[in-house]
Symmetry: C2
Subunit: 199 residues, 2 copies
């Protein structure tokens, strides 16, 4: 064995022992609360990736789209025929299009009722609350209501919350938080949002 | 209209005009190079979310898994029957399990040949190079080779690169870069990786 091979083997042995230790220490099994926040691309996309993953094992998943629901959405189309998936859409679209606080609040409360039903159903393995952070920020939804529904959900249920500026209480409750930070975005350099990639 | 409604309407009008301006300025249409990097959860997941999205419109997609390929992978299972998807797996698993630099390099070069084929096929709308960053870091692959294949790919093709510590040259070439930063991870608090959520 050359020196380089030997150094590589030793480094990888150390890494393996580190990984093995961490795996051995992680023994708790339960549903998780994940928050994908930050201003970068990938929050909703990662949530749909997880939905695809859960459906791959035959688990039931529910997605509640608080903002982008009126848009064309390739991943929803791709998975729409899956009997284990339910999708609930807030029927107003972007709040800067409607410009009406009262109707937005009503639409939000209506789709929250679907979310609350999912959050109390032990058959649902994964719930995505896509862009719910904006509902809390705009005051369409109350943080206490959301916190209580999350705290009382079935123990095996995982929830993913997405959106910028996640509420401090959501961050505090979460098991896993990723901040998707924008380093660069093609849109800001004049490139159009791309079908099948951005939506 | 109450004061509160009126303030809301004005704020949303301003936001709408800002959004509309940005949309109008984004006129370029072409394939993108996206990099999902950083130490947080969501990089590979967002890549698979985008694959699901592209398949939803009937586009062809190719995924090359440089590290996790030997693992169970729910999203691959869920989409495996899609004729528009091809998946190529580096057949050694984690490099800290094999502990053999020479066989890892060979396995990497073999699956890179599949990647290079995808990167030269104008029928392929989306290519995911999952965890290729580690191959560059370990020296199993040469950055010049990768850069050239990316630079010469079909103009309409989008490529997603995932993995920690993305090479500076990849970051420089990219149209969109998101740094997925770990704020908190359940695994570090002793919670097991969860089927259908983490893999």
């Amino acid at each position: 064995m050359t020196d380089r091979q030997s150094r590589h083997r030793n480094a990888m042995r150390n890494l393996k022992s580190h990984v093995d230790e961490k795996v051995a220490a992680a023994t708790e099994q339960r549903g998780l609360l994940l928050v994908f926040t930050g201003n970068g691309k990938g929050k909703t996309t990662a949530a749909w990736g997880t939905v695809t993953r859960a459906l791959g094992y035959g688990y039931r998943a529910g997605v509640v789209q608080f903002i982008k629901g009126m848009w064309e959405c390739g991943e929803r189309e791709r998975l729409a025929d899956d009997a284990n998936l339910s999708v609930h859409i807030m029927a107003t679209g972007f709040t800067w299009e409607t410009q009406n606080r009262e109707s937005d609040t009503q639409a939000c409360q209506a789709v929250w009722a679907d979310a609350a039903r999912l959050l109390s159903d032990p058959e649902v393995y994964l719930v995505v609350l896509d862009e719910i952070t904006y509902m809390l920020k705009f005051g369409y939804l109350d943080i206490a209501t959301v916190r209580e529904a999350l705290a009382n959900r079935p123990a095996e249920q995982t929830v993913i919350v997405t959106g910028r500026n996640a509420h401090r209480e959501l961050l505090d409750m979460a098991d896993t938080v990723t901040e998707m930070q924008e380093v660069r975005h093609a849109f800001n350099a004049g490139v159009q949002a791309r079908r099948g990639i951005d939506y």
